[in-house]
Every structure is written in C-alpha cells, then in structure tokens.
C-alpha cells in the first residue's frame, strides 16, 4: 500500500517546526505504524536526508516511550492501543495521515516527534510513592489486602506514562496520569499514611509543571492505551479536598 504522511519536522527545541509531506510506497498491512516510519527513515537515510526522530523502545505497548498524534487522535484510531501496536490494516491505501508530536507546554518538543516528558518524573518524585526503604518491610502476608482493593489498585497502576492523556486533553491537563498514581497507592492499606500529603504534593507538582486543569471532559480516558478510568480523578479530588477540609 501507499500512503502520504504529513509529519511535524522541528530541528530542536528552539526551532520553528512545520508539517512536511512524504509519500511512502511499498507498505504492507501487517506493518505497525512505527515500522512505516522505519521504512520512511531508511529511505530518507539512503537519500542523504535526515530521518524523522521519534521515541520508541519496547514496541509491544508497555514501555510508554512511543506516542504521536495520528490524524488528531493520540496513538491513532484504534482504542486501547499504543502507536507501536497500531497496524496498517486500520488504514486504506492512498490515505493521507497527519502525524504530530504531543502538544503541551509542559512537554516541549525536543525534535520532530520527540517531546520531553520529564514533568511526569517530577510529578512522581513529588510524592508518587510509598516510603518503604529497602529492608524495612514486614512479611508480605502481614497485611492482607481485600481483592477488590488490590484489583482497583492494579487497574490504576496499569498506567504506562506515555502522555497520551495530556496530548488529548483540551485543557492540556495531566490529571489522569497524576490521579492514576494517587488512586493506585491510595487504594492500598500500605498507602494510607501518606495518602493526603501524596495527593496534595502531586497536585502541586502537576500544576507547577504548567499542565492545565481538569474539567472532566473524558478525552484522556478515551485515548488511554491502558484504559485508565476517569474515576481515578475522583479519587484524587477526594483525597485533596478531604485533606483540605480536615486541615480546617
């Protein structure tokens, strides 16, 4: 199959970028979207042009490195799927496809489709953990966890930190990412001692990073490759407001 790709090209952080069109031929429906970019890059390289920079690593949908907005949708048209697992059988021969980086002030473009998601690490560093220094743990069975709590913690913990939620949010908010961690740790008995301070600190780090505020539009959960539910945001709100009320 043959496609026209219009890709955002930007030399570095400070450069101005623009969409550039490329025709790519000889593609197969069994290719993943990233393999199409590989084919394009191989061609650009041998022609002496600069290949398109994009983040990718595991190519099996779990590392969260890849991410691009494909025809206006983060990770492309297939639900619950990262760009690396999106296959070309979801496109038609002759399609024109727009490929853009995640757009957010807190995710500055580094080059082409590569963005800096360091803000996510800073949010986790601000409190997205349970303080359990190595060696201090009691026996794993010392504290049973009801299965429902363990399951809801797992559901939230499935987040891969790809940033699609931010890319899709009309407010440029990272609330789904932030709240997923708050909900994961807050659902477990081990997470209770730091529950309030964690939620507040992570929210402050989220806001400081320059992300927008959440208005519950649900665009984030619609594109989330792991289907993190919007309810996690309720858990964050609950913990933050609950703490504010209690501190009164």
């Amino acid at each position: 199959m043959k496609l026209t790709l219009r890709i955002w090209r930007q030399k570095d952080r400070d450069a101005r970028g623009k969409m550039v069109a490329y025709d790519v031929d000889g593609l197969s429906a069994d290719m993943s979207f990233l393999e199409v970019l590989d084919v394009l890059n191989e061609r650009l390289t041998t022609a002496g042009e600069e290949p398109v920079a994009f983040d990718h690593d595991c190519r099996e949908g779990i590392c969260g490195a890849c991410g691009m907005v494909i025809n206006g949708v983060a990770h492309g048209p297939q639900k619950l799927t990262t760009a690396c697992q999106l296959h070309m059988r979801h496109f038609n021969d002759g399609d024109t496809i727009d490929v853009e980086p995640w757009r957010a002030r807190a995710f500055p473009v580094v080059k082409d489709l590569v963005v800096d998601r360091g803000a996510f690490d800073r949010i986790i560093a601000s409190g997205g953990y349970i303080s359990a220094p190595t060696g201090s743990a009691p026996d794993a069975h010392a504290m049973p966890v009801p299965k429902v709590d363990a399951d809801s913690a797992f559901e939230a913990a499935a987040c891969i930190g790809c940033g699609a939620c931010v890319a899709a949010c009309p407010n440029g908010s990272a609330m789904l990412f932030t709240a997923a961690k708050v909900a994961h740790l807050g659902a477990l008995p081990q997470g209770q001692p730091e529950r309030s301070s964690r939620a507040q600190a992570m929210l402050a780090a989220h806001d400081d990073a320059g992300f927008g505020g959440c208005t519950n539009t649900g665009e984030c959960t619609a594109v989330c490759p792991k289907g993190i539910p919007l309810t996690v945001i309720g858990a964050l709100n609950h913990d933050v407001l609950g703490a504010a009320v209690r501190n009164r």
């Binding site: 907005v69 949708v73 757009r103 601000s126 407010n171 709100n237 933050v240």
Partner: protein, 246 residues
Amino acid sequence: MVVSGTRDRAASTTKATTPTPGRKAVYRSTVGAKSVMAVTGLLLLAFLVAHMAGNLKIFFGAESFDHYAHWLRDIGAPVLPHYWYLWIQRGVLTAAVVGHAWAATALALRARRARPVRYAHRPKVQGSYAARTMRWGGVLILLFIVWHLLDLTVGTVNPVGNPATPYANVVAGFAPSRWPVTLFYTLAIIALGFHVRHGLFSALRTLGQRTAKGEQRARVAALGFAVLLVAGFLVVPFSVLVGLVG
C-alpha cells in the same frame, strides 16, 4: 516552575516541589478552581430546580401564579422584611455566577497557556460533546440570563413589563408574534441542558465521586436532571405558544 530542560537540568529544582501544601495551596490549585466551579454550579442548579418548579405554577392559573410571585418577595417574613429574602438570594446567586465564571475563566486561560502550539489536524472529539461545549455554552447561558432578567424580572424588554402581573408578562413575552424570543429561549434552555448534563456529572466527580458504579449513577442522574430541567422550562413557553396558557 520548570517546563523545559532535560531531566538532569531540572533535577536540582525537583526538591523545591516537595511541599506539604496547606489549605491555601489547595484552593489555589486547579482542583481548587474546579471545586469552586462545582459548588457554585450545584448552588445554581438547586436554584434552577426551584425556579422550574415555580414556573409550573402557571398551569394553575393567573391568580395562583401571581400569588406565588408575590409570596417570593415575602419569604422569611415576618423575621425578614419585605423583599429581603429575595435580595439575599439574588446576592448569593450573583456571587455564585461570578465565582462560577471566574473559575471557568481561570481554567480556560490556564488551558490556553498549557497548549501554546495547536494541532495542525483538528483533534477529534472522543469524549462527549456536552463536555466540549461547556465554555461557549456557558457564555450563551450568561447572555441569556441578562436577556431573561431584562425580559421577565426588570421587564424593560417585555411588552407588558409590569412586575405586579408576572402571568401577563409571561403570556405576552412568549406570544406567537414574538417567536424569535421563544426560539432564543429554547436554544438557551437546550444549551443549559447540555451544560447541566456535563456540569452535574463533573461536579460530582470533582467533589470526590470515585467508583465505577457511582460514575454510572452520576451519568444517569446528570442526564435525568438535564432532561427534566429542559422539559420543565420549555413546557411553559410552548404552552403559551399553542394557547394552552393565555
């Protein structure tokens, strides 16, 4: 605030973001802004429900309706002098509208700053349209409120415009010849329905609704409320229009 720089350049600033934020910080946060939005929204919604219920008195005839309107001015009597309650309510509602609009503006400006470069390919709406029309819907509703106050409260744009005869004002206001007014009213109420549908769901979420089952219930409740309000508010002008009330 660190928005650029590779991780190691930013690392030294990470420590500074380890706060034990107090209550103030929460109110200044994005969650604080949307809590203001939620609380004021719920307040306005409560008013809307009462307002709608009161409107339906019109079906009991002019006397009943006008009596109801007069009674409103005497709520709280004899503790509160004549009109006092109404002015208190107006004060609270105005504060709620201002708070609601302030929070919306603050979040909208923040959203704009959060995405300085727009997408070349217009993003497809995957969530709900109700959620995506909150801001413009809100502005439309605000404009409508201004018109509505001038029409049926102050009476300056109403053909009758006599505060003593609300029934007559309504009947004259929605007379068939004034169909553009009725059309505007209808559109505004439908916009309000959309606004309430996402708004109520969103307010519950903001105030800590956090289970899947609760989410289902919140969605149903929000839709139910929206439909009820739209129907309750529209039945009056359409009854006037078709001559059921007159």
